[in-house]
Each structure stands twice: as structure tokens, then as C-alpha cells.
């Protein structure tokens, strides 16, 4: 039993590393041998991963901005430091909440969809058919999804940050009678560009983790519709765990070790 589980784990890790290697080949090396990736499928995936997710991201980010401002108001009131509410909203969003929450949404929405889609293709022999037509599944299916995710997750994060800050402003403006210019000034003063960049680096790393885990889960499905279901669930759980652990590691590197 233990040995079996270990072998399965070893195979999974091997598959995952292989997928990453061949992805790197198709993105970094193949374009110089004349096999440039096609642009149209990347845009199609960008619409799916990014544009369609925007409403959900906006709603989540707005609620988080509002919540953060209310909590900050509550705690800072006793210190008489309500003027620091914009700082707290801004820094929390840029450094942590923005990248993490939006990655969570994208895992639930797009990561699971990619795993299920590729898994269904696997069990209905479509992947095998591609291979027999001498079309590499990583090049044809994974590369466009990967590039779309690498562009769209950071883009969604910037968008979400902005909406979250608007949420914080709504609380300050309407409940606490801040003036708008003051909120903006304070927020901009508190954050420096590194706060933004660190969030962007995080979301790029998360994008990599999410899309490789989902694609790998989909491409290695075995055992019919049931297998597709299991792989989809597993990909969501694994991507969430990997993303949260990586977030702790990156926060440690960016804000603790330096």
C-alpha cells in the first residue's frame, strides 16, 4: 500500500516535471526553430481566463476592499489613527489579498475548467488523435492556455487591486466622511512601487503553478468520466495548497529576509 502510493506520487511528480520541461521547450526554444506559436488560440484562452472572470474578480475585490476598510476603521479608531485606513487597505491588497484572492478565484473558475476540458479530451481519445496526427498536445493545447494565464492573472490582479481600493474609498468617503483627494493622496503615499511589483511577481508565479497543475491533471486522467471528476477535484486542491505555500515563501523572501 505504502509502496504503491509512493510509486503513484513519484509518477505524478515525474509527469509534472516533464510537462514543465516540454512547456519551456515549446515557449523558449521552439520559436527559434521556426515553430512559432499561433496567436489566435492564445487570445481565445485570454478571453476565457481573463475577460470572463472579470465580473467575479470585481465583486470579490470590492467586498474585500470594503471589509478591510471597515476592520481598519474599527481597530484604528481606538488609537485615533483613522487617517491610516487607506495605508492598510492599499498595502494589504497590493502585497497579499489581491494576488491570493484573485488566484483563488481563477483556480476555482479556470483551473478546474482546464483540468476538466483536457481530461475529457484525454478520455475521449482526442489527445491520442492529436498525437497520431503528429500534433504535440503540449504545443497545441497547453502553450496557449499557459501564455493566456501568465498574462491574464497579473492583469486581473491589477484590476482587482484597483477595485478593492475603490471599495476602501467607498467606506471612507460615505461612512467616515474622508474627502476623496485625501484618500487618494494617503493611499499613494503609503505604497511604493515595490509593493506593486511584489504582488505582480506573486501573481505570475501563481499563474505558472495554477496552469501547469491543471493541465497536468487533465492530460494524465485515467478511467473515464469518473477519472475526469477526480482529476478536476485533485487539481483544485493541489493548486490551492501549492499557491498558498508559495505565497508564504514569497512573502518571507520579499518582506522578511530582505
Amino acid at each position: 500500500m505504502g509502496v504503491l502510493a509512493f510509486c503513484a506520487l513519484k509518477r505524478q511528480v515525474k509527469n509534472y516535471l516533464q510537462l514543465n520541461l516540454s512547456l519551456l521547450y515549446w515557449i523558449l526554444i521552439a520559436p527559434f526553430t521556426g515553430q512559432f506559436f499561433k496567436i489566435a488560440p492564445i487570445f481565445r484562452q485570454m478571453v476565457f481566463v481573463g475577460v470572463r472572470a472579470a465580473p467575479m474578480v470585481a465583486l470579490t475585490a470590492f467586498s474585500v476592499g470594503v471589509t478591510l476598510a471597515m476592520q481598519a476603521a474599527h481597530s484604528l479608531e481606538s488609537l485615533g489613527a483613522q487617517m491610516y485606513i487607506p495605508d492598510l487597505v492599499m498595502l494589504t491588497l497590493l502585497r497579499e489579498m489581491g494576488p491570493v484572492l484573485i488566484a483563488v478565484i481563477v483556480i476555482g473558475r479556470s483551473g478546474s475548467a482546464v483540468a476538466a476540458e483536457l481530461g475529457t479530451m484525454k478520455v475521449s481519445e482526442e489527445i491520442e488523435a492529436l498525437e497520431v496526427m503528429a500534433i504535440n498536445p503540449v504545443q497545441y493545447l497547453v502553450v496557449p492556455r499557459f501564455l493566456a494565464m501568465m498574462v491574464m492573472l497579473p492583469a486581473l490582479t491589477i484590476f482587482g487591486n484597483y477595485i478593492g481600493i475603490v471599495g476602501g474609498w467607498a467606506v471612507c468617503r460615505f461612512a467616515l466622511n474622508f474627502n476623496t483627494a485625501g484618500y487618494i493622496m494617503r493611499a499613494l503615499e503609503s505604497a511604493d512601487t515595490w509593493d506593486l511589483y511584489s504582488g505582480m511577481i506573486k501573481s505570475a508565479v501563481f499563474a505558472w503553478i495554477i496552469i501547469t497543475i491543471s493541465c497536468n491533471a487533465g492530460l494524465n486522467v485515467e478511467g473515464g468520466a469518473e477519472g475526469v471528476g477526480q482529476a478536476t477535484t485533485a487539481s483544485v486542491v493541489q493548486a490551492l495548497l501549492a499557491m498558498l505555500v508559495m505565497n508564504a515563501v514569497l512573502t518571507g523572501i520579499f518582506f522578511f529576509a530582505g
Binding site: E117, E125, E126, E128, E131, M133, A134, I135, N136, Y140
Partner: protein
């Protein structure tokens, strides 16, 4: 043993799933221009055999040489090079569900040729006409019937004008007229372009119409092989039972072991096959 005209050489191919040998020591050759029909009962390993010939499954042991090269030992790159020369129709059609009918047929052309979109459209239209399909170009695979999927799959397999065609039950699910159309297409390609074809079929009318040679699989090995005439006049009772579709005969049904013995006791069959290998255990 192999000559210049040998395109596929299968030697002592063994494939096990768990401890069940689905293919057990299979050897045969396919020559250029031949249309080889593989027949045999459902679940006897025909599709599995095709998968080994195109290199998408690895054998437990044995060798498969295709165009003179050992496909079981090839790297991914080399396999891709070989696959550009062959077309494959899957038993399920295996069309990409996210693409329309004409995008499916165009896929190999878009990926592997530098043709302009107009040229590709022309070719796709011609290939779909060849299999008797027009007016369905913009539908998705789940909006067309099973028989239509088969024919789209065949059009896609033929898109790059392969010199070697594998087709897994191309006529199952087709009406008699469409069956004849597809058979005629295979014949025309075999005679006109010297395409070699390996066709899995248990439609006997169609099989005898297109075959230049036939192989019958059973119990994981080759029960009989020969020209259509040799098969038709075979004295092997298993072959006769299969080509005439009789429920009673030496081919065991899924009876329990006890019943199986009774079954054979009641209907003993004379053993006459001298010419063909005959693996069935006599009672």
C-alpha cells in the same frame, strides 16, 4: 523475410494488460498497395493491435517495424516524422469536440502545411465530398450522427494524402449505401494512389469487397490469414462461423465453464484445417 515492398512488419508482438495477454505472439507483414482487413470477435484486440502499429501503445515484447524503422524504440520526434506519412481513423472518430467539422478536417493541413486558407478550404471541401458529406461543415461533432462522425474522421485521416491508412471499423454505423461509398473510396485510393490500408472490420460484405488479404484474430493470436478467396473457402470452422455469422460453432460465447463444456459436447466440429493455424483447444 522483409522485402522493399514491406511497409509494416509485426514480429512476435505480445501485449499484456495485467496478466491477461490480449495480443499473444502475433506476426505478419503488410506490403505496399495492399488492403489488409483485420477481423475478429469484439474485444479480441483489433483496436489494440492498431494502436501498437501506430506507436501509441508500447508492446510488452516483440517488434513493430513501419516503413522499415522500429517504431517501438523511437523517440517522440522520430515517431512524429513517421506519423506524418500515415492517417488513422479511430473507432470512436476521436474528433476534437471544440472544433467544427471543417476545422477538424483542416487541422492536419493547418498544422503541417504552408497552404493558404483558401487552398485549405478547397481541400477540406473535396475530402468531405469524398466521404459523402456536404452542408455540415459548420456543425460541431456532437451535433452530427455517429456514422457522420466516422466519415469526418475518415476525411481527416485522408487530409494529408497519407501513403498508409489505418481505419478502425470505418463502416460500422453506416447504412449499406454509405458503406459502399466508403468501400469504393478505399478501393479507389488503393488502386489510384497505391495507398496501403489496414482496415479493422467485422462487416463481412465490406471486408470481402475491399480486402486483398485478410487476417482473423482470436484468443490473442492469428487464427487464419490469406486472400479473400482462401478465407471464404477456408476449412477452418472458426472462420466459417465468423464469416457466416452463425451463433453456434467452435468460437466460445461468454458461457460459464460448465456450460462451455456442454456446448462443445453437443456440437462437436470436425477438424479439417490443414492450411491455417488453428488454436482452438479440442474437447
Amino acid at each position: 523475410m522483409s522485402t522493399d515492398s514491406t511497409i509494416i512488419e509485426v514480429n512476435n508482438l505480445v501485449r499484456r494488460f495485467g496478466d491477461r495477454a490480449v495480443l499473444d505472439d502475433i506476426s505478419f507483414n503488410v506490403h505496399r498497395g495492399e488492403t489488409l482487413v483485420i477481423m475478429g470477435g469484439s474485444g479480441c484486440g483489433k483496436s489494440t493491435l492498431l494502436r501498437h502499429m501506430i506507436g501509441s501503445m508500447k508492446p510488452t515484447s516483440g517488434s513493430v517495424r513501419i516503413f522499415g524503422e522500429e517504431i517501438t524504440a523511437m523517440k517522440e520526434r522520430q515517431v512524429e516524422r513517421v506519423r506524418l506519412r500515415l492517417g488513422m481513423l479511430f473507432q470512436s472518430g476521436a474528433l476534437l469536440a471544440s472544433l467544427t467539422v471543417d476545422e477538424n478536417v483542416a487541422l492536419p493541413l493547418v498544422q503541417h502545411t504552408k497552404k493558404s486558407p483558401d487552398e485549405i478550404e478547397q481541400i477540406v471541401k473535396r475530402k468531405l465530398e469524398m466521404v459523402g458529406l456536404t452542408g455540415f461543415e459548420d456543425l460541431k461533432p456532437d451535433e452530427i450522427s455517429g456514422g457522420m462522425k466516422k466519415r469526418v474522421g475518415l476525411a481527416r485521416a485522408l487530409a494529408l494524402d497519407p501513403e498508409l491508412l489505418f481505419s478502425d471499423e470505418p463502416t460500422s454505423g453506416l447504412d449499406p449505401i454509405m458503406t459502399a461509398v466508403v468501400d469504393q473510396l478505399t478501393l479507389k485510393l488503393a488502386q489510384g494512389t497505391h495507398m496501403t490500408a489496414v482496415v479493422v472490420s467485422h462487416d463481412m460484405t465490406s471486408a470481402f469487397r475491399i480486402a486483398t488479404r485478410m487476417i482473423m484474430l482470436g484468443h490473442g493470436s492469428i487464427v487464419a490469414q490469406g486472400t479473400p478467396d482462401e478465407i471464404r473457402n477456408s476449412s477452418n470452422p472458426e472462420v466459417q462461423q465468423f464469416i457466416h455469422g452463425e451463433p453456434d460453432g467452435p468460437i466460445p460465447l461468454n458461457l460459464s465453464q460448465e456450460e462451455h463444456k456442454d456446448h462443445q459436447h453437443v456440437r462437436p466440429r470436425p477438424f479439417l484445417g490443414a492450411r491455417f493455424r488453428f488454436h482452438h483447444k479440442r474437447p
